[in-house]
Amino acid sequence: MATVASVSLLSEAEFGCEHLASQLMHDGPASNQFKTSFIKTHNALGRRDGSKTAPSSLLKPRYTCLTCSEPCMNGDRKVHTEKTGHQFYMESRSRALFCQGCEDMVYDHGLERCRSATPESTLQVAKKRRFSESSADELYVKSNANRRPCAKQGVRGLFNLGQTCYLNVILQTLLHDPILSTYFLGNGHQPHDCTVTDCIGCAVAEAFADFNSIDKSEGFAALNLLLASWRASPTLAGYQQQDAHEYYQFLVDKLHASAEGNRDNHEKGCSCFFHRTFYGKLRSSVTCDRCGNVTKTEDPIVDLSLDVQVQAKKRAMGGGSGSSATPTLGGCLESFTSPEKLMAGVYNCSGCGNTPQKATKQLRIKKLPAILCMQLKRFEHTFAVSEKVEGRIDFPLSINMLPYTTNPNTTVDKSRYTYDLSSAVVHKGKLEAGHYYVYCRQGDEWMLFNDDQVTTVTEAEVLGVDAYLLFYNLRCLANAVS
């Protein structure tokens, strides 16, 4: 789960338990060997191919001995320890360390850090200094930086300034994003040095600072962001309702423009922070039905716009048992990335001498952003009518995006493509007028942000809503695919 947990070295014990301390206390071959076997077992349990392990006891959690990698069941562990003297096991489901000396799970800060790395580089990463490792650094930071106040971290509403709920839901989503919090609270955008007038970056930075630093629980007003948005975009300007999705695109675009070292031309590959955070790439490949010539184009994307109507229609046409099932997000992604026949005359094949040919078009995700926004296209605009598609679309708390990428069959660690739901925006009302509110995850809890009214909700409630926008966060940034 990606959250800004206030991990503070000063409050972490040196070792998970006394027994672990005696094992790891002295740097040497014994301690290194232990770490290596920890990581190895950890990765082996993560793979779940199941072919190598004994299939007899697959369902219940096993405890793999870290010394001789023998899997034990819950009851056999004690016997194994008495026989061999091996004290440490790894539990197969959560991959937590079990110490037979304590007869309890132990959670060692140092070892847990070794977990989140790609299998190949784990051993190197374990040695590399990725974070500030010494508590001296932290003492320095502590005495020279502002601390977030304890009170209800990050749970504040945003006042509706009058038809600004479209802005509130998007800003609230961004405010709860750990990556963006780190960026803005870490002075990623410096409003004092920024010379751009009506800079969106400054306005968002100010909102982040306001949201996090002041020890107040009531809502606040994102007035400057509203002003900057109105000044920056004539279409958004004015006292009227807007589409939250359009506003998100606008905001991402403007944030990208405000970042240092950004390039306007997305094709050349921009390495700025916002580009890496928000922008993915979509590959569209068109295959000519006659000669098999494939034309590929890649476009930068900030979100996936998923057609829900097609889903609904398919269900309806399928009839029988299929029609009663709720459409799912997975189904939407499926149809988004499945091949689609192009009508004759739309595509001119260069392989067939630029003559119009029938062709098959397929969209695939080439690159996934760290913050993945998915829009469920509930607002349908055809020539004749504009209507809103109501109804529930099931979405999961976490989703594996690997099947929708350009190489869905690679055997990489699934966790590199695992995304966790971070926010769900709901639109209530009709097409031309309505109200937005948003469910955001704050740590392990879910909150409903209805402008300035903040209430707790259960996970089940969140999963039951008719979402319009879904925001997913990459679970583990260390594994991010570059």
């Binding site: 503070s8 000063l10 409050s11 014990a13 070792f15 338990c17 006394e18 301390a21 199941g50 299939p55 007899s56 369902l59 219940k60 489901r93 959560s94 304590c102 309890d104 799970m105 959670y107 010494s134 508590s135 001296a136 650094d137 932290e138 003492l139 005495s143 020279n144 106040p149 304890c150 209800k152 971290q153 749970v155 006042f159 509706n160 300034l161 009058g162 038809q163 020890d215 629980s217 009531e218 809502g219 007035l223 400057n224 002003l227 109105w230 000044r231 300007a237 004015g238 006292y239 009227q240 009302g429 009709k430 031309e432 007028a433 309505g434 109200h435 909150m447 300035d452 009214q453 707790t456």
Partner: protein
């Protein structure tokens, strides 16, 4: 949460009855679900206790360091200490608490923190945490009312109130209307009478929306109306009205048409929210609001209010 690997082992089961197999799989799956939940709770709790044990030990060590410094008679270091200085001070300090040992700037656990440490201490402010909300659903009174607790408390779940236990903000309206608008303002809440009775001492019964200064002009507005004002203040609605009514003026209309609107706004100076209240409907009824159709269709709570207010006062 990990996906259940329930289907993997099916073929390896001895060829018994399907019922036996199904039963086994179901049992194990339920076992795993419960196992995962317990494991998560265990982890959260144990890590919290571990940290508490460490914080307590560290605090004790710091007190010890201060005491030694005073004994040695050295002048206290300035408020801004660098990390090196501080770690230097802890060099030869060794203190022991129930749950941990502090030695050379490092803290080692002693025994199982689930047994040794009873309280959860906030690592940031070093005050004990409350484990239950103080009001609302599942509330319990704080264990020691005279003690100071960490401000980070469990989220409060109470109808008509937010997670901090504050009642939802409402618009300042005539007392007669208060009840009616309160319910319309908070659609998911219970009638305002229930929270009032139990929430007397903690907070004011009603919180009204604050006022904010317009970023473009020096006047103050109730926060829910400021976008409407800003629209006018920036001359945006003026342009829109122009565009809708007289398309030929479109290009040059923006700056030219804005000033004439300003005096209209200024003759109803609304610095105080009280006056603002009176002036808002006047403006609405006197001068057509920019997108009339949208306003009529509006269903956001504040928009509904504008309508009721306009109807009531006009």
């Amino acid at each position: 949460m990990d996906a259940s690997n329930g289907t993997d082992g099916q073929s390896a089961y001895p060829p018994g009855t399907v019922a036996k197999l199904t039963c086994d799989i179901l049992n194990d799956t339920f076992y795993n679900i419960i196992h995962d939940i317990v494991a998560k709770v265990h982890r959260d709790e144990k890590v919290a206790r571990m940290r508490s044990a460490v914080v307590v030990a560290r605090q004790k060590a710091e007190e010890e360091a201060t005491r030694r410094r005073e004994e040695a008679g050295t002048k206290p270091a300035g408020p801004v200490k660098t990390g090196e200085q501080e770690s230097e001070e802890f060099k030869d300090i060794r203190v022991e608490t129930d749950g941990a040992i502090f030695e050379d700037g490092k803290v080692y656990l002693k025994g199982n923190p689930l047994q040794t440490t009873k309280e959860i201490i906030c690592p940031d402010c070093r005050l004990p945490r409350l484990l239950y909300p103080v009001t609302g659903l599942g509330a319990r009174p704080p264990p020691d009312p005279y003690r100071e607790y960490c401000q980070r408390q469990p989220m409060i779940s109470k109808p008509g109130h937010d997670v901090h236990g504050n009642p939802f903000a409402t618009d300042k309206l005539n007392p007669k209307k208060k009840k009616q608008t309160n319910t319309s303002n908070t659609p998911a809440s219970s009638p305002p009478t229930t929270p009032d009775s139990s929430f007397k001492q903690a907070a004011p019964e009603k919180i009204s929306f604050p006022t904010v200064k317009c970023p473009n002009c020096p006047r103050y507005f109730v926060v829910t109306r400021v976008a409407q004002h800003l629209d006018r203040c920036l001359g945006l609605s003026g342009r829109q009205v122009n565009r809708n009514k007289t398309p030929q003026n479109d290009g040059s209309g923006t700056p030219a048409s804005a000033p004439p609107k300003r005096p209209l706004d200024d003759d109803t100076p609304s610095v105080l929210p009280k006056k603002k209240k009176l002036s808002a409907p006047k403006k609405l009824s006197g001068k057509k609001p920019p997108p009339p159709s949208k306003l009529k269709n509006g269903i956001t709570p504040d928009m509904a209010e504008i309508k009721t207010e306009a109807n009531g006062d006009a």
